[in-house]
Amino acid sequence: MNAVLLGLGLFLLACAATALALRNLIRSILLLVGIWFGIAAFYLWAGAEFAAFAQALVYGGAVSMVVLFAVLLTRRSHAETEAPPAPAARVASALLAGGAVAGVLVAAVLRTPLPAAGGPPPFVPVRALGALLLGPHAAALLIVGAVLTIALLGGVVLAAGGRAGAGKENSP
């Protein structure tokens, strides 16, 4: 069981490191999608079937497309998807910031008393999950939905405003 978790963790880390090291944006994005699928596999390992499939559907199917569309629509040619190498100062500051975050996370994990794992993971049927989400957690679900809708509307307004402005610039 732990060998699976270890393998999964190594796969995720390897994907993340390669995605950061690659110069080609599209390949980095595809590796990022690989990470999302890896997280779905982790949920599956942890017994959260519903969360795993929702993760694959939403991130693998939808968010990945949004990211790919954003990159391809903002770059003019194939050559522009290749990012130039970063200057040494930027690499150093990135390593410093990343190391600090990693240090805080590792310290937090090590200091948290975790209950000893025993037996198989608990099985929560989808029906019980639905009752929980629409019962005690309904308010949280509604707030998340409202925030996402507002973000979507904001995105539409920004895009429409940009287009109207561009139209005026081009008109004689």
Binding site: I26, R27, L57, G61, M65, L72, F123, P125
Partner: protein, 403 residues
């Protein structure tokens, strides 16, 4: 495969279980699960591989008959060996990879597409005791695996370093994303009324007959009929079938995102398309047409998997028939149909299903009122939106040709 079977069932119905026991009955318990899973996977691969081969032949034959020509009739008796001839041709053709292409992604795209479409076949209940993977969130798994195929289409378009392939891939993605929404919304009423995401439980909920003749299939309710039609239209678009075959549009677009593919990789794309079509048809049978249930009580002596196969083949024949009958849509017509017609209709259908659920206790005249209200909830928006969508498109006038 599911475990227990009542001893009163007919021999043919229990045949899959007997076969499984014959294969792994003598193995120790820890090995059984592995052997069971491997046999299931091999069976799905073999059956759907053969179905794919003969479906291509059936398609060419049926298209031929509809266009008043014989279709392939040279390889073997009446052309039955044609799929194998095609297979050998595709295997021996040169696999051309453009010099500027991304070789890894160029190779991965068809493999990923076939893998994702095969994954979807695992959760469909093919018979009373025939389901490879009975997951609690089975329907969600099906659509999660199906949605991932968009990624493979993008990889195919991008990897070839061909701007036409990339543009076509973007068009294909626009189409797939547009029709993903009505596809997902059309099955939500089924899940709402069955109260489960487990495919086998959805089939079980459609069991039984009124007066021993009329089955309790979802398609025979107002919301179910609309859901089924929406699901099939969205399935046509999701599997790139005519009249939504714009992504490849072989007569106009040099095969779209497949431009830089040849040989067996090209064949893999077609294989994935047919697997996807079979999977979506199988899910339509499961969600709306009662799965493996017999249409009448007195026909129950025929094994459940035979009923599933009949329903699946009828839907696949429908796909072929539609391809022969309807002309291809234009890109703007395609997206307009999805966003201005199918999505609103699917959302209204959710309300209809909710009404149907809440009025389940109505009896006598109430039943008539229930049907009338549910039908009105569907027909009025359908007519209103249909008129708005086709406004200004009036009857075509032929100025230069004699009609």
């Amino acid at each position: 495969m599911s475990l227990g079977a009542p001893p009163t069932e007919r021999w043919l119905e229990r045949a899959p279980l007997l076969g499984r026991d014959l294969v792994n009955g003598f193995l120790p318990a820890p090995l059984r699960w592995w052997v069971d899973s491997l046999v299931d996977a091999a069976l799905v691969l073999a059956l759907f591989g053969l179905l794919f081969a003969f479906l291509t032949l059936a398609e060419r034959k049926v298209l031929g008959r509809i266009q008043n020509r014989p279709g392939p009739n040279r390889a073997g008796w009446a052309g039955v060996l044609q799929p194998f001839a095609d297979g050998i041709k595709m295997l021996t053709k040169e696999d051309i990879v453009p010099r500027a292409a991304d070789p890894v992604l160029h190779f991965l795209a068809p493999v990923a597409l076939v893998a994702f479409s095969l994954l979807t076949l695992a959760v469909i209940p093919y018979g009373r005791h025939l389901v490879a993977l009975d997951l609690d969130a089975g329907v969600l798994y099906f659509f999660a695996a199906g949605a991932s195929s968009e990624l493979a289409v993008f990889m195919a378009g991008w990897a070839g370093r061909n701007k036409y392939a990339l543009l076509s891939a973007m068009r294909a993605l626009a189409q797939l994303i547009s029709y993903e929404l009505p596809l997902l919304l059309s099955f939500v009423p089924v899940v709402m009324l069955a109260g489960t995401l487990r495919a086998t439980a959805i089939v079980a909920a459609q069991g039984g007959w009124r007066l021993g003749l009329v089955p309790h299939w979802n398609v025979l309710t107002p919301w179910g009929f609309v859901g089924f039609v929406l699901f099939m239209v969205a399935s046509l678009a999701e599997s790139n079938r005519s009249p939504f075959d714009l992504p490849e549009a072989e007569s106009e677009l040099i095969a779209g995102h497949l431009t830089e593919y040849s040989g067996f990789k090209y064949a893999l794309f077609f294989m994935a398309e047919y697997f996807g079509m079979c999977a979506l048809s199988g899910m339509a049978v499961t969600l709306f047409l009662g799965g493996w249930q017999a249409p009448c009580r007195f026909l129950e002596f025929i094994p459940s998997y035979a009923w599933f196969a009949v329903k699946l083949l009828v839907l696949l024949l429908g796909f072929i028939w539609i391809r022969a009958t309807l002309p291809r849509l234009r890109m703007d017509q395609l997206t307009r149909l999805a966003w201005k017609f199918l999505v609103p209709l699917a959302l209204i259908n959710l309300g209809t299903a909710a009404f149907w659920h809440l009025s389940a206790g109505w009896t006598g005249l109430g039943q008539g009122a229930r049907w009338a209200v549910a039908l009105a909830l569907i027909v009025i928006p359908f007519v209103a939106m249909g008129r708005r969508l086709s406004a200004g498109l009036g009857p075509r006038t032929y100025r230069y040709a004699v009609p």
